[in-house]
Subunit: 332 residues, 2 copies
């Protein structure tokens, strides 16, 4: 295992030190492993928080800031944060207008966020609403999930819902919007290589040199099938087809994200997006906004995922609204 780390069990704590050093505009609670905005939530603003296992950076800590998250809770690598951590973040960010929890659909995350929401209500009277993101069309019920997994759409949802909260909408409105975004987006991923979890010290799965995994999850969970390595055009087809088969993306503007899994260089991600864009055009899908790069990763896995979101004027306006985070920044 070749990694830029001190010790496998210190990766998260050490990485948070770097986040704190690089981003004086954020507050890092090293004990509870929570990244907050530098300023407390302003009175009347719904707070939006998310979290999950680490190893998907810049998700979620890289999306804390104006126009996006109020806080991100970091679990150990590929491990849900605990209810205590989540409850603490919920308590700190609440300004009285309630807190939205954005949860990727993994069994551990769903359970721990639910418990935290109950504790927050019981202990401190904080009203919590929850959206569970489940956009991955690859599989129903996977290694760590009942139902579909929550993957790339989480990034787009955090941006759009964060912008709505920034506008001062109330918790019910923000929750409804989050559910609408979740229902309007789909993702599909693939891997050329496994990732290596530091604490494990060896690749999560074996993938022969001439094979790739289609429909892989962001923790290296098995996908739909293993197939021989293929040209980018064929890989693009194998991502686009299941996404378009699952939801109609024609008839309105679409936000598209071609995401890198962490180990694939940007020149390959742009190349993949070129192939995807050609297929989408052929299918009558109009892409209005695009992200290409590493936005939700799986440590050092080589591979990529495609996320599409059916948008409309309102969602595009919220997408374009100012955002000031380490991972997404514009308009400020």
């Amino acid at each position: 295992m070749k990694k830029l780390i001190n010790a496998p069990d210190a990766v998260l704590a050490d990485s948070l030190k770097g986040v704190a050093a690089a981003h004086p505009e954020l507050n890092v609670d090293h004990t509870n492993r929570i990244i907050y905005r530098g300023n407390p939530t302003r009175a009347g603003k719904v707070a939006v928080i998310s979290g999950g296992g680490s190893g998907h950076e810049p998700l979620h800590g890289g999306y804390v800031g104006l126009g996006m998250l109020d806080a991100a809770i970091a679990g150990e690598v590929f491990t849900s944060p605990t209810p205590d951590q989540i409850q603490e973040a919920t308590r700190v960010v609440d300004s009285g207008a309630g807190v939205l929890h954005i949860v990727k659909n993994y069994t551990g995350d769903v359970m721990n966020f639910e418990m935290a929401a109950e504790l927050a209500d019981a202990d401190t009277g904080v009203t919590v609403a929850t959206v569970v993101v489940d956009d991955d069309v690859a599989v129903e019920d996977s290694t760590y999930t009942a139902g579909r997994r929550g993957v790339g759409l989480t990034v787009l949802l955090e941006k759009i819902v964060g912008a709505a909260a920034e506008e001062g909408r109330d918790l019910a409105d923000v929750e409804a919007l989050a559910n609408r975004v979740n229902e309007s987006g789909r993702s599909m991923g693939m891997a050329l290589t496994s990732c290596t979890v530091p604490a494990a010290g060896r690749p999560t799965f074996d993938l022969p040199d001439d094979m790739m995994e289609i429909g892989v999850g962001i923790h290296g969970e098995p996908g739909r099938h293993r197939v021989p390595l293929a040209p980018a055009a064929s890989i693009a087809q194998q991502l686009v087809d299941p996404v378009l088969a699952d939801l109609d993306f024609t008839g309105g503007p679409v936000i598209a994200m071609l995401n890198g899994m962490g180990g694939s260089p940007l020149i390959e991600l742009y190349l993949m997006y070129g192939e995807v864009a050609a297929l989408l055009e052929k299918a009558g899908v109009t892409v209005a906004r695009t992200l290409v790069g590493d936005y939700i990763t799986s440590l050092d896995m080589a591979g990529c995922s495609l996320t599409l979101l059916r948008a409309d004027d309102e969602l595009l306006r919220l997408w374009d609204a100012p955002v000031n985070t380490a991972g997404l920044r514009w308009g400020v």
Copy 2:
């Protein structure tokens, strides 16, 4: 070789298709492999262009846009663009105020940009000034270079000089500023793994599982020495020491970049920055601005580099000025 490509000889052309599809705000000349801003250079503005071999994305194409480059010329992977390509870009971007060429110090690049500058002057009367970036403290005279290599400082220089050109400064001013930035910055890199050039199909160099390369170049050129794998704290020391030994970074604000080589995930880069920041603080270096992420890469190489730039109020102001590119974006 596991890559998201169609064919080794089509990587650059196919990737530029993706850039064009993802960035309607840019103009891509697919024949000459040049990325331009969507709008022509405004009258009286010095144009700033750069280029070099591909494989270092987001450098240089990802830095084309308001407040940074007017155009970027892409050579094949790790291969200088030709004088013809560079001359064409120079001709197109000139609005009468002259063109600054930003060239990383590699023999092929220096030669081809020089030839292009002469051709531009002779054929079309365009005045060209050139800055050759040579910030890498690792080695004097390397595989592809006479003198020091040009690496990470190029990113910072393109940002700062691009902002100065945007303010309407004349060519002599912009050139002087570029030289001042070059003299004020230093870099040092390291690799955990080799990169694999698509056309070669196998790793550029062999690096045993228990070794790392200190002082590596951005094409996988040999560095200072190979040493056993070490904890991040030791790696940070091996990057910080030679940089601080080469130039005094105390006594004023510094801009720091902890750059990923392409194959190292962000959680490791933040971890490395945490170690670097602690060493800089101990050495009395005050970091005023920070970048952590993949800004100048070597395809899929795992590893990182450190760049420090001595700044002052003027350089910080130019750093903070609005920039609207795929790779760096703020203030707009």
